[in-house]
Subunit: 483 residues, 4 copies
């Protein structure tokens, strides 16, 4: 059975709400209240084609997973499909789309990208306003995001000379799995916003580079698509946002176990959405680009309420907000044999508790400054943990993420005891700018930088790094944009 656009158009209200996605008709009336992003965004497309809005932020299996088969009503008829295609082809392009197209053509050749800053600069040109707003935004005034990075500039090296460094080994293991350099992809969502191939770019780049990808619960490809993009021996970790319903959480764990993911990184710093104003504001700014400014009368616009959670908030609406050390860790141990890492430790006290709870590792992280504004910079927490509780590093692996952009940043974290460091936004920028080869290039840059820094620090392998090789200084360097 097929449907005409007219038929679909009749179901344009909350009591009967149909949408078309990729020429398939779905009845989402009952699903409205369950949609993590809220019902209003769906109702905007009630009775209409929603493909363009749906695709960049949903994995292919999202509808299958969430809608019972009976709500999958079948395709539109071929005349309607043609009409939809014509509509899409003839759609007036926005100023932002024109800007992006031009920027894509003017990208410098890849070999001119010397640093992650260069890569990010390209990404900022080629990303849609919506995408850059989602990727770059952070909580409140974005101070924490900045401070994560600025913390690194307060640590200087006590470089050693006259040490043999003609051969340097930067490889390591993470939870026992080999990595060619002590970095990993920290779970970062919605890669399709930046590049049509989405997270698969990162997966393939990670394969090329022999590093490990932690896949976000909120990836815009399905966990299966990502697993399929991986090479046979490639290691994938899974970032778990635990659902408040244990059964649903277990189902998700079973799925990734089945797909061959190798560890569970339980995310604990994002149980409610952070306040990312840049992300929330992006649709209004786009709207203003297209139209002349409007005079509002008081009270007007009440229907078009703000989604004060933005793109991100929608993704974690059913998270478990009542996790505890006593209940959640033993429960998780009981349902999976995979190694468990706690992602989002933000203070020394909780690092100690995590070690007591017997997890396999912790990721000191404040979610890239996207959650609690004024959460202590991860590098500062690592520094304090190393001084106050060095024994913790013997009991489990400790990682950090947030603000790492240079080989020297990696090196500082390693000196202070980190087993490896995670990176989120940089991978999104790299895949947005150049796709898979952008990701490979990014890791190449970091390898070169890390090798150079280790040679100049007098260290021939990551095992020889010690805390006395870095020193926290009592002044704040000025970090300028250059070139």
């Amino acid at each position: 059975m097929t449907w005409t656009l007219q038929q679909v158009a009749e179901h344009n209200n909350p009591s009967s709400c149909w949408v078309i996605i990729n020429n398939q008709v779905y009845d989402v009336s009952d699903f409205l209240s369950e949609h993590p992003g809220g019902s209003s965004i769906i109702l905007k497309y009630a009775g209409r084609d929603a493909t363009l809005a749906y695709e960049p932020i949903h994995p292919k299996d999202a509808l299958e997973k969430n809608l019972p088969p009976s709500k999958h009503l079948g395709p539109v008829d071929s005349a309607s499909a043609s009409a939809l295609k014509a509509e899409k082809d003839n759609r007036k392009r926005t100023k932002d789309e024109f800007r992006v197209d031009k920027a894509l053509k003017e990208r410098p050749p890849l070999h001119r990208i010397l640093s992650l800053a260069d890569m990010e600069n390209v990404a900022r040109q080629v990303l849609s306003y919506k995408a850059i707003s989602y990727y770059s935004s952070a909580a409140d005034d974005e101070i924490t995001m900045d401070e994560n990075a600025r913390a690194f500039s307060r640590f200087f090296f006590n470089a050693r000379v006259m040490k043999p460094v003609s051969k340097i080994d930067i490889s390591t293991t993470i939870l026992g799995f080999p990595s060619s350099i002590p970095i990993f992809v920290s779970g970062a969502a919605l890669a399709k916003l930046g590049h049509p191939l989405g997270e698969a770019n990162i997966t393939k780049g990670a394969a090329n580079s022999n590093i490990i990808q932690m896949v976000s619960s909120n990836a815009s490809l399905s966990y299966e698509e990502i697993a399929q993009a991986a090479s046979p021996s490639q290691t994938l970790f899974f970032q778990l946002y635990k659902h408040e319903n244990d059964a649903i959480a277990i189902k998700r764990i079973r799925e990734v176990e089945r797909l061959g993911y190798k560890a569970i990184w339980l995310t604990v710093d994002a149980i409610v959405p952070g306040n990312r104003e840049r992300d929330i504001k992006s649709p209004w700014i786009l709207e203003e680009q297209e139209k002349p400014p409007k005079y509002y009368t008081e009270g007007e616009g009440s229907a078009d309420q703000a989604n004060v959670f933005g793109t991100a908030g929608a993704l974690i609406v059913n998270d478990d907000r009542d996790m505890t050390w006593e209940r959640t860790i033993p429960w998780l141990r009981s349902v999976t044999k995979l190694p468990i890492v706690i992602k989002g430790i933000q203070c020394v006290e909780d690092a100690v508790l995590a070690a007591k709870a017997g997890v396999d590792g912790i990721l000191i992280s404040n979610h890239g400054g996207r959650q609690l504004e004024y959460s202590m910079p991860p590098l500062e927490v690592l520094y304090k943990l190393r001084r106050q509780h060095p024994e913790v590093f013997d009991k489990m692996e400790v990682y950090i993420d947030g603000g790492i952009r240079r080989g020297t940043d990696i090196l500082k974290a390693l000196c202070l005891g980190a087993k490896a460091v995670g990176m989120g936004r940089p991978f999104l920028y790299a895949q947005s700018a150049y796709g898979e080869i952008g990701v490979t290039k990014m890791v190449d840059i970091l390898k070169r930088e890390l090798l150079t820094a280790m040679a100049l620090l007098g260290a021939s392998s990551v095992n020889t790094l010690t805390p006395d090789m870095v020193e926290r200084v009592d002044w704040q360097p000025i970090v300028r944009s250059r070139l």
Copy 2:
């Protein structure tokens, strides 16, 4: 009996000075020397209509309270009233008024206001130059005002994870009176400068939001008008500027007791006017907007002397400058049964003395940086008090105000022992931008921000907050304007 404009115009000098306000004629000759704002500002309108200058900064009952009935000479005749109305209607509008009108029309819809910074940005557009100068000005070089806010950026969170936070209670009590969130309106004067309904906007917004308003001694509505604007169960506090004459002070206390105000907040940090140059300079800048620049000859302009106290200075000209712990607190206890809070404590030593004096609370405050330049930021005083004299917090309630703009700011103060925090300018900005619904919206924003921050800090109620959840760092974050 009625008066013609010609008759009034004859009384245009210090020995016989009449003014018209709302078509009523007043003989203010004897009052000139008592006017807190000085005689020269009145003499500018001698023999003329003074309504436009009078209204935005005086409560309705100001003349009744201060002039004996015999000086109320009766109305102008109807021809004069018509003439005054025509004059008002035909008045050439100033550039600043045109700017304000345009800005009011271009205000964004309220749901796009995500933060107090957004709210202030709108207010800065729609406020008259005179109003923004009065509201935003601070002492000398406005360093203290800035430092009040910057102090918050030196305190970071040691966020805790794996704590149950699905239910969070942010309600509290202040002096035993319930508040839906630990904030209150700190006394802020002259709301009518920003919005024709003045302080009543705040009163009604506070009622909507279930928070408490401390009413300024220098409100531009009378204490009675404000009390009438309040809902039946609403709590109002009174900010007392103590008159140097005890009898006058008692009269004022009796009035607010009668009107149902629930506590006396004795203001001790403003016994002389602060040096607010932005405010003092505003009339000159407005004048320059209207006219081409002028060449002055030496000595010229001596009659047009500067009012070196500005709008604010005028308001406190008869304050008691000889208050002491020994005399004033016992006296105040003897004249009222209301709870007493000292507003304007600026160092640890005085906090301790206040506790010894047995008051019910202190507000650590430097008057928003409007009084003593380089007064220690309140958050720093709170931090030191908590470390040096934790016992003080058991003896009385401790509040702070100055520089609070985010939920995380509130949370930091609460962690360090504050029972609640006061806010002044933000309420003036909110009511100036959108009236009553601006005030309600502002509190909604803060509630959302505080709830988010507490969830991410791992705290389910304000009672569980402790000093170790915040840490004073030894670096200074850069706080940028964004978006």
Copy 3:
């Protein structure tokens, strides 16, 4: 006997060098090598009228003091005098002179000057480029000058409330001489550069304000002219640059004793000229304003060598560079009964030595940052002295200067033990902007600011100020230009 311009013009070389000043002819051939400013600047005017260059930087008696009567050759004839006058009247005015004239006409009326910053802003408009370069310049990169002022911003008040302050006494004594406010004029040279009446403006303003003026050795009026400008009971101090020849130094001391100066402030921080590049460069910049840029060939311009000491350097070329505590202080005590103050103490150790040497006071000063770049800010030296050697304050009076611009600055220094504070540039700016009434106004501003600050600090007299009322903070406030 009179001279024609032609006759004078023949003496235009080093072996016979005549110049005309105010229509009088002088033979300065033998004096060339003794001129503190070097011979080249004189030779520029050899055989010509030098009045315009001479007058703004020399006291009237300079030639009489330095040239034997036989070298005073008498007047030019009347035709020549007329020719010189015509030449002067018809002289093409420079762009800088036009700028200054316009700025003088556009000065705001005096009552609009609210702060010393306002006053300096006017002065910067009305001063010639040469004058502002000399006044505002400081050593090397002018860091010390800035840091002198920035030091004050690191000291905050622990303000006390509930103290009786209806009556505040800010008067004090300096070396026993009364002053209406604890400030004095610190020796600042060449006031005629900024205003034709020169130092007399300051003298008369000081009389109006009941403060004490320390007269610079390098004043552009003679010590006698300044003494004559003073009121009968007015106190003047003398800033001594000690000549390397004791006999000449004694002669100078005898002169000021005779003129009624009340104390000797021996300057010890300027025995060689500071490197004030802004001052040295000013003639080149003026030259470039008048002419199109020039192409130089290598080696060119060697005759027009740079005076690497600038205006200031010339003034101290014969100073005693071998003063010692052991020799100089006893010698000075032996030749005068006047009180002795050492001006230019820059560290705690020397403050202690000065107390041991039995002088009457020290002025902690680094010459306004005009001498040794990176000399410790005076306020920091005072702070350390108070903590490390409080006994020094009982043995002699301690003053500071450098960077004081506000009443709160004065107050901080007084709290830390200073008996009074000196100010240099601000007096030059005030007299440049408005002459004598500018000086009076400036002191009025400071009195109002100091009274306000003391009331708000809870201090009713300068004797009650204590070090615990200020606190050195561990962060650096941002001091912005405002308004």
Copy 4:
């Protein structure tokens, strides 16, 4: 035998690669793989004239030293020589060359250069983009370079007064060799990039000024040319980049011994090339100046791969990366009697090891921030070394370089125990701006500044300087560009 351009042009590929330099033909086919700068830069000129690219960065003897005589094929014929000359004369000049020519003509006369900042400003105008990129570049984000200089601004003087300073001696010795001021030329490569006479400008300026030059291993003149430029009694030191092949290293040492160099400064902080992005990027920026922006397609430009080492990296490609205290120092002692200094000590620990190893001196240096980003600023290392291991200063001489631009900088280092300070970039800038007389002028400026600073500090010779004369402060001054 002579060659035609056509004959040469046939050898335009890796298997047979000829180039013409100064009308001589060379067969560099076998040398391609050994070229420190990589083969691709040579292949760009395969079969063509390479003179313009070759000359500014190679000493004259570079080809002789590296190519066997058989590969020197002889001259081009005279027609070809004429053609080459015509080609060179008619070559279209680039925008950058036009800019440089204009800047050279507009240079201010030398006597207007008051400071090293003035000198650098001229150099930045007259240098080619390639040259300024090479000279001014530093590692990664150039933070270390900046911090080297900023460190000096945290040290203030405790200036002493009343000390005899009419005679000041700033001369010293370095490794026993006299120097008129405690500075020396730190090895800085490729002077010909900035001036056609190259390092000889520095050599001759050093002779004029009686200071010592340390000659870079990578000088653009041969060691012999430099030795020939020196005056008979002039002291030259040699900066050794030790070749990984001991025999080659010995050969180089023998050469400089024979030429009369007086000490070996073994460079240990540059065993791998630093990441100088400004340098690496300069050819692309120049290319963009000449052409309109280009659209690249993915993968394009792979042949034109980036040289990620830049100009500098090429120079150290065969350095010994396995030097150790145990092996290298005894070996070096065994092969030469010259004094040995370790250049590139970056922490206290290695300074102590160097003293134990018995070398004659150390240069605390991070290579001007060109190698390891975030290497501790040399002044901070010196400061710590002086406090933690004062005995080291008795065992050997200690020098620092990096960030020194003023006489006060030199003085601070001397107070903290440095025997002398090295300067690199400033000498390159001085010789680029004005050739030999620029170098002489630069030293004159520093002498005047140092003399002034010592007089004002109360020190009459470098031997009387002590650590207590400087104080590390806990705030960070703002260093602005001025004038």
